[in-house]
């Protein structure tokens, strides 16, 4: 029995199914047939909605990363001041059990050089994350709680340190402990913003 869906709905379903597979087999390991059978439909259907597999993967990664970003933005908006927001940022960045999202980032960075749609998406989202942090830093400077001469640069450095450390945890698991990198990244942020040690706990 054919289940006919509205275009929007079906597109969403495809992306959702692709995400399930990507979570299990990696971005690069996600195939048209896998996605189709996950949805319980035929593989031809995927190409009815997407020009190429590259686009499907980019859309899947986009949804996962955008979702994390939105969740973090929401968590930050609950903070009363820039300091609280910064704490919310870090609390949200590495929620336990969401390692698979970061694995997707690793996949995306690696695939970036060979899949243009994925590359464009990861670049855009990376910048959005940096912006989110930078805006909060600027607000803190304006209000006078942060001492930070170059918020944009600081944001890039914090994001990058976070990525570099998370990478070790996700790719190699045992080399670095989760609590350790949580402590390190907060200490670094404190030093970059002129906050007293322990302020971001």
């Amino acid at each position: 029995m054919i289940v006919r869906m509205a275009p929007e709905e079906r597109r969403d379903a495809i992306v959702a199914a692709a995400l399930v597979i990507a979570r299990r087999k990696g971005l690069g390991g996600t195939t048209v047939r896998d996605v189709a059978s996950e949805m319980g439909t035929s593989s031809g259907l995927i190409h009815h909605y997407f020009d190429s597999m590259d686009d499907v993967l980019a859309a899947a990664f986009d949804r996962a990363a955008s979702n994390d970003l939105a969740r973090t933005m929401e968590a930050m908006s609950a903070g009363a001041d820039p300091v609280e927001k910064l704490v919310a940022f870090f609390d949200n960045y590495s929620v336990p059990g969401s390692d698979w999202t970061f694995q997707l980032w690793l996949d995306a960075w690696a695939e970036a050089s060979r899949r243009s749609a994925v590359r464009a998406t990861s670049e855009r989202l990376n910048i959005e994350w940096q912006q989110l942090l930078a805006e909060n830093l600027k607000e803190g400077v304006a209000v006078g709680v942060f001492d930070c001469p170059d918020p944009d640069g600081t944001a890039w450095r914090i994001i990058s340190l976070l990525d570099g450390l998370s990478l070790q945890v996700v790719a190699h698991e045992a080399t670095l402990a989760r609590e350790t990198i949580s402590f390190w990244i907060r200490s670094y942020a404190e030093s970059e913003t002129g906050l007293a040690p322990g302020s971001l706990r």
Copy 2:
């Protein structure tokens, strides 16, 4: 005409050929047939020397990364003191034109969760890089030129910031300038070691 090689030699040739392909098509995109035809031999030969493709890829990555490591160690050994060695470390980390090595790192980190041999290799080499840096920091502390309470932690943080920043350059190219990250990483190292700003130039 069959060209018979000594086992050692042939193994090396396979790894070298795999590296040529991996450089062009990525670690994950390297296939048995590609490697074979790069050597001008048959594909069966690869499996005569390696149990699986995973092992070939791990060996190829191992050679590339070990090579970089050795080159950096040598450059550091030319430095007269820990400060000079640290400068040599940074100078060597991001030689222009060796982006492809870093792309291999990106590939390896992404593949780590799905190819155990690659994973073991990248984990080991990541630790070796950290050790290289940590040993130099410890030496500097012993001699009294560095003020650094936790050299091992500092080494991890420097390596991670470097990785996180390099990642943006290699995967996204345009977002961050090379000279910018070179400046940032040196400034960060100065602050972690208690050196005066500009010491690592």
